[in-house]
């Protein structure tokens, strides 16, 4: 049976952070998760390759399995995400209104889900999304040239829409509006 405690912990912590620090902090967190995953994810990014090469050098060669390398990358990503959580919790600014806090909470839940999907794919239902993980399972399942970019593209579109909506200027009342019921 799957243990849902880590997933629940991540979701609750993310929602709390979102409530305390609002949507801006969550936007930063989304960027960190996406950037961290792109830098350390499977597919042979330069940083991941460097980390793995150093790991091999430190341990003296070929005793590390592909799974262990994936685990190391996961650990590094976990550290980066935890550090971001900590910094935002301590140094982030408060949301301007209760609405900002609520948006932050919802966004926090989404971010928590993203973190869980990245770090704990086994805890989530496999049919929800293609697992975007740096762990052993996904490394094994992925073949070069068959990488599914859809979740990243969809995430990017969501961020673009959010930015576009935030860029809308409030409508200024003119004389015509003053006489309107």
């Amino acid at each position: 049976m799957t243990n849902y405690l880590p997933l629940a912990t991540i979701l609750v912590l993310s929602a709390l952070l979102g409530f305390r620090r609002g949507a801006r902090s969550q936007l930063l967190l989304t960027a960190v998760i996406a950037g961290g995953w792109l830098a350390l994810g499977p597919g042979g990014s330069p940083l991941a390759a460097e980390v793995e090469a150093k790991l091999e050098k430190m341990t003296g060669g070929s005793i590390i399995s592909a799974g262990a390398k994936g685990g190391y990358s996961t650990f590094l990503l976990l550290v980066i995400i935890l550090l971001t959580y900590l910094l935002l919790w301590r140094l982030g600014s408060r949301p301007e209104s209760i609405r900002g806090a609520l948006i932050g909470t919802l966004w926090g839940l989404a971010n928590g889900f993203l973190v869980a999907l990245t770090l704990l794919p086994g805890a989530l239902l496999p049919f929800l999304l293609t697992p975007i993980t740096v762990g052993e399972r996904a490394v094994g399942a992925m073949t070069p040239g068959k990488f599914d970019f859809h979740p990243i593209i969809i995430g990017g579109i969501f961020i673009l829409i959010t930015l576009a909506v935030r860029a809308i200027r409030p409508h200024r009342a003119d004389l015509g509006d003053l006489f309107r019921e």
Partner: protein, 181 residues
């Protein structure tokens, strides 16, 4: 009549101009309605059509889906429903975001992009359903097969095949952004 893909590109450009005139806050509202229409058609279109067939078939003395005009009737149902919903989305302002686009080139660019996206969604969906039901507009002399190579290459990039798994996610997200903005 010329190639379908030319008409498709032309309609996207026309809608980009519509986006400039209306502004992307209103266009985003139309995008939401178009996506809702797509969700309704892809999720429940078949069920509604079968229900209609069961009800009307008794009155007309036989199933119209089993008759020789099955394809034109199905195309008329899907396209009629879709075009009606698009018309309503452009006519009303229920889901439109209140406010004005940012000043300068950024605002113009966002208007153009959102207008073009709506054009892609509308004309692409119409093309998809025409293709699915074997181009019934042939009966009216508006199209003569075969498709060009470019048109065949573009078919997998129409909105329905690409967006279908994510429609609910997009609709929920846009409504959430509209409500909590």
């Amino acid at each position: 009549m010329g190639a379908l893909e030319l008409l498709w590109f032309a309609l996207i450009i026309v809608f980009a101009f519509v986006g400039i005139v209306r502004g992307y806050p209103k266009e985003l509202g139309a995008t939401t309605s178009i996506l809702v229409a797509l969700l309704v058609l892809t999720e429940w279109g078949g069920t509604i059509l079968l229900g209609l067939d069961a009800q009307l078939g008794g009155l007309l003395g036989g199933s119209f889906l089993a008759g020789p005009y099955s394809n034109p009737i199905q195309a008329a149902f899907y396209l009629g429903l879709f075009i009606a919903m698009v018309f309503i989305s452009y006519h009303g302002e229920t889901l439109a975001f209140r406010g004005d686009p940012p000043r300068g080139p950024l605002g113009v660019a966002m208007n153009v992009i959102n207008g073009a996206v709506n054009g892609y969604l509308i004309s692409g969906t119409i093309w998809y359903y025409l293709d699915r039901f074997d181009y019934p507009i042939r009966l009216l002399g508006l199209f003569s097969p075969p498709l060009t190579n470019l048109a065949k290459a573009l078919l997998p990039f129409l909105p329905v095949p690409i967006l279908e798994p994510y429609l609910l996610l997009f609709v929920a997200f846009l409504i959430l952004v509209r409500v909590f903005r």
